[in-house]
């Protein structure tokens, strides 16, 4: 059963720049799906196409569709999509710096009934005790890690069915990355929320996800269960930074080029 299905999606920025070139993927209900790829591959664009945030950026879906629970959503404004249960945690945290922690969390709860605010707040504070300690602090004065917790806390307040996470590990120390991924996993398991996780940190992402997609240049070039991807030599080389033996460097770089060509084909 899939909650999200993206079919042959084409996205154009400013009427000229074609960034997604027929991208297809799906996210299974209640599971974590990873979307990996190099800088500029179009991962963020994919998430924005799902959450509707493209509209404000001169980005447009020119072909294909985004099906959420079987219904197309790519023509809806973002507030409707959030109300339908899709919530994107944007790249770079994007907390409201001159609002305090609790006010930020209230923004996350904007689309939810008042009655669910208090229990959800308790839930967020249970996941992130550090946010509770700093509840009256301005978000702008918090550390990067605390801001990322706040960004995810806002998402929890929104009670999403589909959570889109854009590089939650960005700029965090390894221990904190582990903590954040652990919370993502716990949130996924206890609430049954479906997660689409975009990451540069392929190893961390594949360790929590059941299934992964690798994209390059606006297309999916490889997909499979996380275990298979972790064991795939190409993935190991390009995304996990492992290489087998250093001697045949020249040959390897040629081969590298060929492989890229094939992926693009």
């Amino acid at each position: 059963m899939e909650l999200l299905r993206v079919e042959n999606l084409e996205v154009v920025y400013n009427d000229v720049v074609l960034v997604l070139k027929g991208l297809s993927l799906s996210a299974a209900k209640g599971r974590i799906t990873a979307l990996l790829g190099a800088n500029g591959a179009g991962k963020t664009t994919t998430l924005k196409a799902v959450s509707g945030l493209l509209h404000g950026e001169d980005g447009e879906v020119t072909d294909g569709c985004v099906l959420y629970d079987g219904a197309p959503i790519h023509r809806l404004p973002p507030e409707r999509i959030v109300r339908a249960g899709v919530f994107q945690v944007m790249e770079g945290r994007r907390v409201f710096e001159d609002l305090d922690v609790e006010e930020n969390l209230r923004c996350g709860a904007f689309t939810r009934p008042r009655s669910s605010f208090a229990p959800n707040l308790e839930k967020v504070y249970a996941y992130f005790p550090r946010l509770k300690e700093r509840r009256k602090q301005l978000a702008g004065y918090m550390s990067g890690g605390e801001q990322q917790m706040l960004a995810i806390g806002r998402a929890i307040m929104a009670e999403p069915r589909l959570l889109l996470l854009d590089e939650p590990s960005l700029g965090l120390a390894p221990l904190l990355v582990e903590e954040i991924f652990d919370i993502i996993r716990r949130f996924n398991q206890s609430e049954g929320v479906t997660v689409l996780l975009v990451e540069q940190n392929a190893r961390a992402a594949l360790s929590v996800a059941e299934h992964g997609y690798i994209m390059e240049n606006g297309r999916v070039v490889m997909e499979g269960p996380s275990k298979d991807l972790l064991n795939n030599p190409d993935v190991q080389e390009f995304y996990l930074g492992l290489s087998q033996g250093g001697e045949k460097k020249n040959y390897r770089s040629v081969k590298h080029y060929r492989r890229r060509k094939r992926w693009l084909g």
Binding site: G56, E79, R83
Partner: protein, 296 residues
């Protein structure tokens, strides 16, 4: 002599509280939408004339007329945002500024068309026997004006601090796209900003009408919001309040001084702008404004 200056101070505070209201409207629009609204003074004028039309021409009792004017200003705010500003979302700043300048001419012409250019006087709502405060005679309408401005400010401060929509407006002002990602309808927030700006300006207009009477030059009041908001900081509500009061007091006291000491009259009109130039030189982000804020 001291009495003379105290009287000027009181006048300044009352006029200043009206500047504060208009400045509040300006700051709310600027914060939420980054639009510099050159029609703020004309919104005040329209409010004053609508209330005048209701009380004098339609003989509606003042309180009812006042409430109707509030209702009208909400509709006006929605209409202006929808018809004039929304089509321009995402356009260059300069085009948006030109539209607000155009809007100010349109509103001015409409007022002249309907009501002519003569001074019109409101009926007296409050008794005009002065109340004595610390031995100084103050007209009740002044007290009411000041109290009403203060209440509006307090109300909106609470609204922005505690209400769901107020917090959403602050979030939108800080980061529009992030606000959208929370499910906050940014277009609704823009419309709401214009509504609030219209309401506070129209209230300012009604107050002013009760004090001074109204004419078609009332819109120039709007020019005074620039020294007020630049003194207070373009993006600060508290700054709008304090800036408006300071400008009101300064221009009255300076004018009095100029008359008294130098035998000069007409200094009132320029005092505020002298202050403006000085602030821009020494503290361009204002008393309470954000430092890196963009100046227009």
């Amino acid at each position: 002599m001291l009495e003379y200056y105290l009287q000027l101070l009181v006048n300044g505070l009352v006029v200043g509280s009206i500047y504060s209201l208009v400045a509040l409207g300006f700051v709310i629009i600027y914060k939420a939408t980054k639009v510099v609204n050159f029609a703020q003074g004309e919104l005040l004028m329209v409010g004053a004339y609508v209330c005048y039309a209701l009380t004098v021409q339609a003989q509606v009792p003042f309180v009812a007329a006042f409430l109707l004017t509030l209702g009208f200003s909400v509709v006006l705010g929605l209409a202006v945002e929808r018809l004039a500003l929304r089509p321009l979302i995402g356009e260059a700043h300069i085009s948006v500024i030109m539209v607000t300048i155009g809007l100010s001419s349109v509103l001015k012409s409409l007022v002249q068309l309907f009501w002519g250019t003569n001074i019109q006087v409101f009926p007296e709502v409050l008794p005009n026997t002065p109340v004595f405060i610390a031995g100084m005679p103050v007209s009740p309408v002044y007290i009411a004006a000041f109290a009403l401005s203060f209440l509006l400010f307090a109300g909106f401060s609470l609204f922005f601090k505690y209400s769901r929509l107020g917090i959403a407006m602050r979030a939108t002002a800080f980061d529009q796209q992030a606000a959208q990602s929370m499910g906050i309808g940014v277009k609704n927030i823009f419309a709401l900003s214009w509504c609030i700006a219209c309401v506070v300006s129209c209230v300012g207009g009604v107050i002013l009408g009760n004090i001074n009477g109204i004419n078609a030059q009332l819109g120039y009041m709007g020019l005074k919001v620039f020294p007020a908001v630049i003194l207070g900081g373009l993006d600060s509500l508290l700054g709008a309040a304090v800036g408006g009061l300071i400008i009101g007091v300064l221009e009255n006291v300076c004018d009095g001084l100029a008359k008294d000491v130098l035998n000069l009259s007409g200094f009132k009109e320029v005092a505020a702008f002298v202050v403006l130039v000085v602030i821009l030189m020494i503290r361009p982000y204002g008393l309470f404004g954000t430092h890196e804020i963009e100046r227009v």
